[in-house]
Amino acid sequence: MESSHILATTHKAPNYVAIFVWLIGITAVEVAVGYIPHSIVPREVLYPVLLAMAGTKAVLVALYYMHLRYDSKWFLMMMLVSLPLGVLFVLAMVLGFARLAP
């Protein structure tokens, strides 16, 4: 029963439609920002803004549609544990590609 106690959660359902409206709204802004010419706003400014918006959408889906905000923190741990491994993975790949540089 231990596992069941760890994973047991009780919560109110969020307003899924409101989250959806936010997701669509952010996507619309994102597409508009994507069309801004780099000659007007440099990519050093545009790209972080685009990444922040994509990250916000991803977090909204994870927190409310996947119920990470309400569920057991063990589930969140499953995702977070893989992140440092992913960073190490990417670093190894970058170093590998750097060695291949002409």
């Binding site: 231990e2 047991a8 309400y70 589930f75 499953m78 992913g86």
Partner: protein, 253 residues
Amino acid sequence: MTEMTHESIHEEIHMPGPSFWPLVLAFGMLVFAAGMISKDMRLIIAPVGAAILAVGVAGWLTGNIRERMHGPTLAGDSKLAIWMFLGSEVLFFTGLIATFLLIRARAPADVAHALNIPLTALNTFVLLTSSLTAVMAHDSAVKGNRSRLILFLALTAVLGAAFVSVQGYEYTRLYAEGLQWTNIPYGTAFFTLTGFHGTHVIVGVIWCLGVLGGAARGVFGKGHYGGVENFGLYWHFVDIVWILLFTLIYLMQ
């Protein structure tokens, strides 16, 4: 805010019985991977591996569904397993995305000119909508509303199929414009990354249809919606991956 409470999971831990199907599945993956890296025998070995893989998945799923139909529910434990699986998927897509970005950094500046942003923005809308229908299906299952559950699962499957169809159309257009899987490294990285995501969507649609069949037979109800929840977690994860891919591939050219 809708006033309702999601039920807790209060089931006994139930370990599934021993099965040799995971070994068949793993062997199929090995043969498939060996086929894909083979120079001369790819068209023979890879399909054989894919067939073994499909048999392994089918056998494992069949046994699992039979056990679920006749044995105790194992919603809490299978949910933890799904999260562990999604954790491994994070690494899988991290590798693919990193490869894509590194290859694109070396590609010519106009290499992505053929990418169709309005079309993929529409497809993003389709997938986001499917995430809404998937979570509404979960909500319906929690409330024990079977007709709404069936409706939202059907909508999710249709929207997922629509996403894959639009992606297929996009691929034909890109091929016609010269961006192909094997002609330049960018093409290889692009089609591998988006293709694996599309494959995940296809798997999700098949999974959704399986859950839909279960819902039609009355398998799910109040306190017994683990199958719907697990499918939803996978589907939302695939949605999150696309949210990132859309920005990284199409908007940050």
